[in-house]
């Protein structure tokens, strides 16, 4: 599945290293940090079986032993508490969840404890915890296996939230998350697992709070979140064919958020569309638009056009007949951009088949 997937991967700053799949970049990051720091350990449901969280934890137990990577009972709430307890004792746990939806079972520990402990205990406690969780999509994932619930974590001070869109950032962010002394909610999209990018073999970090300009452009700023970066990139290509130059931004981390880069781009292009892999209401897209509105209204600067796209405001249906319109895709993104940039022109939409991404076509169910 290499070349088409690669073609879609966002160009990262430097093209050194090897082509690596997202899933392998995750595994490499963990392996290297476990090698370098014996405090790092991995726990979670099914991290040690033959599927190894779609491959992202495969082989780690053989290498590091059952003390440093182990399966847990189906007890998300307590296991999150266990991870936090180990973290305040000085270890550096990585707690893995095969679906982000399951984090709803550990909200108490994440929101009421992990996020607050450093503050509530006057700085005497730190919680170096990484919570990896995957967002599902298509093949009947349905209502409870498809949610991108990260805005709930963005809402609560004390949690960092990152959502890398490519293999390079996946590795760099995961290493940074492991080394961070704060709880980090690490958001992975299932469909990105097979995408490839150039990734250095040596350990490196991708700094939180620094957005990347994936493709520069002049007519509009497209801010993509997680896999929506990939969808925006395809939209950008299609738009370029009709003469619209879109700048594609990847915030990479949502907390901290590199708002300056977004604002600077927005001021330059005069038009912003935030495309999220989540519901828009009180979502990451609401936050970005709200900050832009606050930063750009009331002064003398020229006003900026602001819009957002995300999940339809519905529960995610199972049937593909409905699911296909639940998500933004390159065609709907491109078409929305067209109407923003050329408000007076006739509506335009790229041919649907040209907008289907290889990483979607290749993905096969059931899970």
């Amino acid at each position: 599945m290499s070349s088409p997937a690669r073609a879609e991967a966002p160009a990262v700053s430097r093209e050194s290293g090897r082509l690596l799949r997202y899933v392998d970049a995750l595994r490499e990051a963990v392996a290297q940090e476990m090698e370098a720091d014996e405090r790092v350990f991995v726990l979670g449901l099914d991290v040690d079986d033959h599927k190894g969280i779609q491959g992202s934890t495969l082989g780690l137990q053989a290498r590091f032993g059952t003390e440093r990577i182990f399966n847990t009972p189906l007890s998300e709430d307590a296991m999150t508490g266990v991870a936090i307890g180990a973290a305040i004792a000085g270890l550096r746990p990585i707690h893995v969840h095969i679906r982000m939806d399951f984090l709803m079972l550990c909200m108490n520990q994440l929101v009421n404890m992990a996020a607050k402990m450093h503050y509530m205990y006057g700085g005497t406690v730190t919680v170096p915890l990484v919570v990896r969780s995957m967002i599902g999509k298509s093949w009947g994932q349905g209502a409870q296996h498809s949610q991108g619930l990260y805005s709930m974590f963005m809402h609560v001070p004390g949690l960092k939230v990152v959502a890398p869109s490519n293999a390079h950032d996946a590795k760099g962010c995961l290493i940074a998350a492991i080394r961070d002394d704060n709880p980090v909610i690490f958001v992975e999209h299932r469909l990105l697992y097979g995408t490839e990018a150039f990734v250095d073999e040596a350990p490196f970090t991708v700094e939180f709070g620094k957005a990347r300009i994936a493709v520069p452009g002049n007519d509009i700023t497209l801010v993509g979140v997680s896999n929506m970066v990939v969808e925006c990139l395809r939209a950008q290509e299609l738009l370029s064919e009709v003469g619209i130059s879109a700048e594609v931004l990847d915030p990479i981390s949502l907390v901290p958020l590199d708002f300056d880069t977004i604002l600077a781009s927005a001021r330059r292009t005069g038009c912003v569309l935030v495309v999220d892999n989540a519901w828009t209401t009180c979502g990451a897209s609401a936050e970005i638009i709200a900050r832009l509105a606050e930063a750009t209204s009331g002064g003398d600067a020229k006003p900026i056009v602001m819009r957002r796209m995300g999940f339809a405001p519905t529960t995610c249906p199972t049937t593909p007949a409905l699911e296909q319109t639940f998500y933004p895709n390159p065609a709907t993104i491109a078409s929305a951009v067209h109407s923003l940039v050329r408000p007076k022109a006739k509506a335009w939409s790229p041919a649907p088949e040209r907008a289907v991404l290889a990483y979607q076509r290749q993905f096969r169910g059931p899970f």
């Binding site: 449901l45 099914d46 079986d49 033959h50 599927k51 399966n71 847990t72 009972p73 189906l74 007890s75 998300e76 709430d77 307590a78 939806d101 399951f102 709803m104 079972l105 093949w139 009947g140 994932q141 349905g142 209502a143 409870q144 296996h145 339809a312 405001p313 519905t314 529960t315 249906p317 199972t318 049937t319 593909p320 007949a321 409905l322 319109t325 639940f326 169910g365 059931p366 899970f367």
Partner: protein
């Protein structure tokens, strides 16, 4: 409902029919699966049918069941419509959830099959809450909650037991213990095998059925339900069973190494479908089998022919009373 002690030949026919329907429907689902017409992950119950059938056969149509994402057996054993289930798997608007739920979210309120959830353990308290309403209603109806061995590790399981016992609610808790949660054996998840002991200490009578005996399960449930209809509280069944196929998907997976095909063979040797079938004369059995094949073929045909939901359906049912 006939006396639980002595089974009539009609009982045996009915139980065989139910076991056979589930087995064959799922085998056909597995066969069709690679064609991509099924738009949903499938968690098959092949090998585990006796638990759902034994329990549901002891219930009346007015009683209620709640199942899991591995829910085809529960749905069918309780009388759920095969056409609606198949169409649901195919993502069609004629499905029991209009294609919006898929295999993991089967539902049929008209048959008192509560909707299933893909989040482990989540439906256990729902069945308890339903039972609370049934107790208030005062018509003697009961609710049965099905769940896997993995679900007993979720805290909500214990919370639910405590509340159901405290309020003496008419709930049959049914743990389908197939020894694995996905690929992880009990030994990596349970500190002790004394599941029934833990439950009993909430003041709940427990039964441990280690051989999947469909008649034994049926009798235990029938006896307990008779008492519940007079006001008795919950009971708990730990039913050992075995999943013959992979956790999710249509295939076997013994080559994966996490379990041994011999274990399955041991279970297959006492397959309840065969056992019950052997109690029927060949003609009766053959007739039932033929009927079932027709039903399944018709269901697949129905699913194939049914339309997908129209695009507007994406926006309906977000809120009740909305449109």
């Amino acid at each position: 409902m006939p006396s639980p002690a002595k089974l009539t030949s009609e009982d045996i026919r009915r139980i065989y029919r139910s076991l056979r329907l589930i087995r064959r429907a799922e085998e056909e689902i597995a066969r069709v699966y690679p064609s991509d017409r099924i738009k949903s992950p499938v968690h098959l119950s092949i090998g585990q049918e006796a638990v759902a059938v034994g329990v549901c056969d002891a219930l009346t149509g007015d009683d209620v069941v709640s199942g899991t994402y591995r829910g085809h057996a529960t749905y069918l054993a309780k009388g759920g419509d095969l056409n609606a289930m198949m169409a649901e798997l195919f993502g069609k608007v004629t499905g029991c959830a209009r294609g919006k739920g898929g295999s993991m979210h089967l539902v049929e309120m008209s048959k008192n099959v509560l909707g299933a959830s893909a989040v482990v353990g989540t439906t256990i308290p729902l069945a308890v809450g339903y039972a609370l309403a049934l107790r208030r209603e005062g018509r003697g109806r009961v609710a049965a909650a099905f769940f896997g061995d993995g679900a007993t590790e979720e805290g909500v399981f214990y919370e639910s037991l405590n509340f159901a016992s405290l309020h003496k609610l008419p709930v049959v808790f049914v743990c389908e213990n197939n020894f694995y949660a996905i690929h992880t054996p009990l030994t990596k998840r349970w500190a002790s095998e004394a599941l029934c002991g833990r439950v009993a200490n909430f003041g709940i009578p427990t039964h441990r059925i280690t051989d999947s005996d469909v008649f034994a399960i049926r009798r235990i449930v029938a006896d307990a339900v008779a008492e519940m209809r007079q006001g008795a509280g919950p009971i708990f069944l730990e039913c050992h069973t075995y999943r013959w196929r992979e956790h999710v998907g249509p295939m076997e997976d013994y080559e994966a190494g996490y379990r041994d095909r011999n274990d399955m063979e041991t279970w297959r040797a006492t397959d309840q479908l065969e056992r019950v079938g052997a109690l029927l004369d060949a003609t009766t059995r053959g007739k039932i089998n033929i009927e079932i094949e027709k039903e399944i073929a018709a269901a697949i045909e129905f699913a194939d022919q049914s339309p997908f939901p129209p695009p507007e359906e994406l926006h309906t049912h977000v809120f009740a009373g909305q449109s």
